[in-house]
Symmetry: D2
Subunit: 312 residues, 4 copies
């Protein structure tokens, strides 16, 4: 029989999170995130791990060390023992990316039952982003202020047009579920979103990433830095060290670096050649483009290492 | 050791489904559903059930009887042993409802990577539906042809406007991920959608229901009647009998009906009264509205039974 | 912007559940269930539903009516907004059935890390159950006290033998992960088990069912009646009425009953005949056994209805 | 409308896998794995990715390059488009670890319906493993042949005893569900197990790992090397390079290595000191044990780098 000690007799609270409970944290021009409720804290992760690994873990690890160990070695189940429930207001096009995470519980405002929220996301003249050249899915830099002004005016015109048509349909008695069909993708919606800490960290790792779209990154940043960091500070620190700040080396990366480490440049080149990284372009006489090699070179550069094929 | 009989040495095929493999089944004005691949058939359900329940089931049940038994008693795991992969083209507002089913695998066309599909769902003049009065989320009947013509013209105007703005943004170099933000919610998208048979039936039960929105019902009907019925005909028959055609009686429904069945109208009234079904409106002197009682009365009517409080 | 009213500024508590927080609720000879933490209450279900369906729901439904409506019509997502975390101690053979529910989070004591719990479930002489005849998977009635005494003695002998071998292996330095391999299936294990309310109700519906094995039913009963009933009393009441106490009529059941309801026995017989319910056994001259017909007859009997083929 | 090209009109087959379809691949003394059915192949992964990223991907990547890119950058959804169904026979204690993977579909033989399989895993005298000292959950090395013989004899004696008691209970009419309770944990069971390729790779990464228990590693090795490698050879190669053979560097690891890379040993020591890696033990005068530092040192050694605090 377990001791019925004090630890179990009261539900854990996190004072730093309680302070912002229910508070509207603004995102974008008209969106927000609010914490509605939560369950568990840093200690709940530790407590669950100790059920699995036995009391022996108590001696060898303090809470912080254990949390870091669990996160580093991807022992994920103890992180599922914490849960958080948010109320969010998000443009539908960002929301579409959001709910691709299937492990959360969701209750979203229905525009079949209710009239759609009278707000679509507006873009300020200095916020229009240019299509990235290097990256098919991204953006880089902003368009100039003149182009921006025109684009923002056009946007307002289109959104007003869409709203007029929507309201006109409702007036004529068209069913709400059909009337909404031509509203802009960036019309705001609201939802309750509930997720456990393990899956939340996965969401944050993907959506705080520089490759994620700016709009959802804005939400992820607030959920990460303003909410999760308050809620579970030890987990958040470990997540920053082992997930956000991590770098993965592949089997090939390791083989090349190990060869260089023992001073054997020939072996390093041999590994790279076998991997197909060093093909010569007939046109330029230089190395052909190779995505894996380029990614390796960036990692090596960070470690202060110049690959032998880049030598001299 | 199991016998390595012929049954196991070839993958099961379903000739009736193979006939339409890869074929475009049109839905709405510009959407479709196509079967890309599948795994398993009626016999795969039976085979999995026999692993669970042992060979003894072979004697007492033929395949059809066993499938009906499993479905009737919600033994759901054997139905997970079949899998289907569809390629669909759907307006994004219907797709939003679709992907609320979290147990499927999805790869959707990204409008960050690619230019959005140049098609939004258009509504013919005779297809504009009226808001339902009795049901906040539904529609009932159509608007007249005059109103319909105006609405369809407005719709075309708005969709053309949205398209012009979208293309104009792309021309000016706005990032695709941002340019798309004001496209209509009903812009078409495409996806691969893969789901197991158990979860597919759950999807169909919800989306073939008269309460589902017309557009997604059109898709569900094609997936159910034109695809699932060919793929697993015995499961489909059982599904029609035990799920689509089923009626649920609550504990209260049963208590009232049982009292009536044994001729004890007083007891029936007593159960209803305790359930709060028979409160009198001070205004009208008649029974107050009560959703559970109304639902009960509809079920009783179908069984040819008049509740005593409706008597006279 | 939402009002930041008091409702949101404090996390919901349920006094009746707080009373037993952390308390050991005994099950079987040496098992238990304890509530470690929870999130949400009856009102959290209502709150989530109102996000979906809009404020309009406030006027037409009080909380109880809305919860009953949601449960009756299987609008399941609002029930996912509540979460509970239990600490359980269970024989491993019951635990194997338990964790077949895949939608929960689990941290179980590892017998690779720690020495296995020194307890296996013991059976009292009057608790040995007879194999059911009618139902291949069930049990019915108890064996007599004499047989029971012998069986309990044998059980103690075997469990002691298994324990001796286990401890002997550990003494000889065998790895814990291997030493445990011949412990009895009913050796106790402990776990933290966290699940949302929707999935908990599904678990309870299956595991409180008379077809479930006695041991897991004992756990389900405690979790249902002693924990869930305190935690979310309105949900529990609705669950009892619409799930535990429900009866399902198939399309065929309905067709036969409707025909009888309008006094058309011939039509009723015709439906049954087409369904294959009324085949005559060449041997006995009576009706052949038919599982679907038998199930129908039991339902009809409850409603006070005698099928025409049973007439006279 | 998509072209209805040949690629879609036939279901993909993998000749190398078809060769072993249904074949028993033995594992342990009496277990096995068999492929029952599968859906998709390397090309199905590519096909799904191209739906997401658009046709543009066709030009820049051949199939192999695209698969490697997807796996390297954890774009996981295209791997969910392939599915495999296995028939396995496994000792229940290994099976308990196996079904902790919640994303698979399972039909397991029920020992409530059927008599338990008459086989428990037996250990040969040279297979008894010693408890690891360094690692609480592992094993290392074997016990000598004399100890092994004694242990194997004891094992046989206990398993025979357990079987006798089990059969005795059945003879006396005890319900199967109760009679089985004292069978050894390593009694064999059989199941159909169906999982998608993404989740299968996750399973293999965890269960082929040297930290996994030997028994389940034996199964994972067969499923990986004998089945998955045949089924999806390009995915398997990428998995070996980017998952099995990968090494993760944390934010701290990177900071120390980068400082060393630019020749700044002081900065490297400073990072390590701030991370708490370099505390001095009052007892020994040397560095205190620190798990994160030890893990870093192992990585550095592989790259041929000696940390400055280990210098001289």
């Amino acid at each position: 029989m377990p001791e019925q000690n004090a630890e179990h007799l009261a539900r854990p609270h996190v004072a730093a999170l309680d302070e912002i409970l229910g508070e509207v944290l603004p995102v974008l021009d008209d969106g927000f995130v609010r914490v509605v409720d939560y369950m568990g804290d840093d200690r709940a992760v530790v407590q669950a791990a100790r059920v699995s690994y036995g009391e022996g873990t108590k001696k060898v690890s303090d809470d912080r060390g254990l949390i870091r160990y669990l996160l580093r070695h991807r022992h994920t189940t103890p992180f599922e023992m914490c849960e958080i429930k948010l109320h969010v207001r998000v443009p539908m096009d960002a929301w579409r990316q959001w709910i691709r995470h299937r492990t959360a519980s969701v209750n979203e405002t229905s525009t079949r039952y209710s009239i759609a929220i009278d707000a679509a996301q507006r873009t300020a003249p200095d916020q229009w982003r240019q299509q990235a050249r290097s990256n098919r899915q991204g953006s880089e830099g902003e368009l100039g202020p003149d182009a921006g002004r025109t684009l923002s005016e056009e946007e307002a015109g289109l959104q007003d047009h869409a709203r007029r048509v929507y309201l006109g349909r409702l007036e004529r008695g068209v069913a709400r579920e059909q009337a909404r069909k031509d509203l802009p993708l960036c019309t705001y919606t609201e939802a309750y979103w509930k997720i456990d800490l393990h899956n939340l960290l996965h969401f944050l790792a993907l959506r705080m990433d520089p490759h994620a779209q700016q709009e959802i990154r804005d939400y992820a940043r607030v959920i990460g830095e303003e909410i999760t960091a308050r809620w579970v500070p030890l987990v958040w620190e470990a997540f920053a060290d082992y997930r956000l700040g991590a770098l993965g080396l592949s089997r090939l990366d390791r083989a090349v670096l190990a060869a260089l480490g023992r001073g054997d440049a020939d072996a390093a080149v041999e590994v790279a050649r076998e991997a197909g990284w060093l093909e010569i372009s007939a046109k330029t006489g230089g190395l052909k483009r190779h995505r894996e090699r380029t990614e390796f070179e960036a990692k090596a550069a960070e470690l202060g290492i110049t690959p032998p094929w880049r030598g001299d």
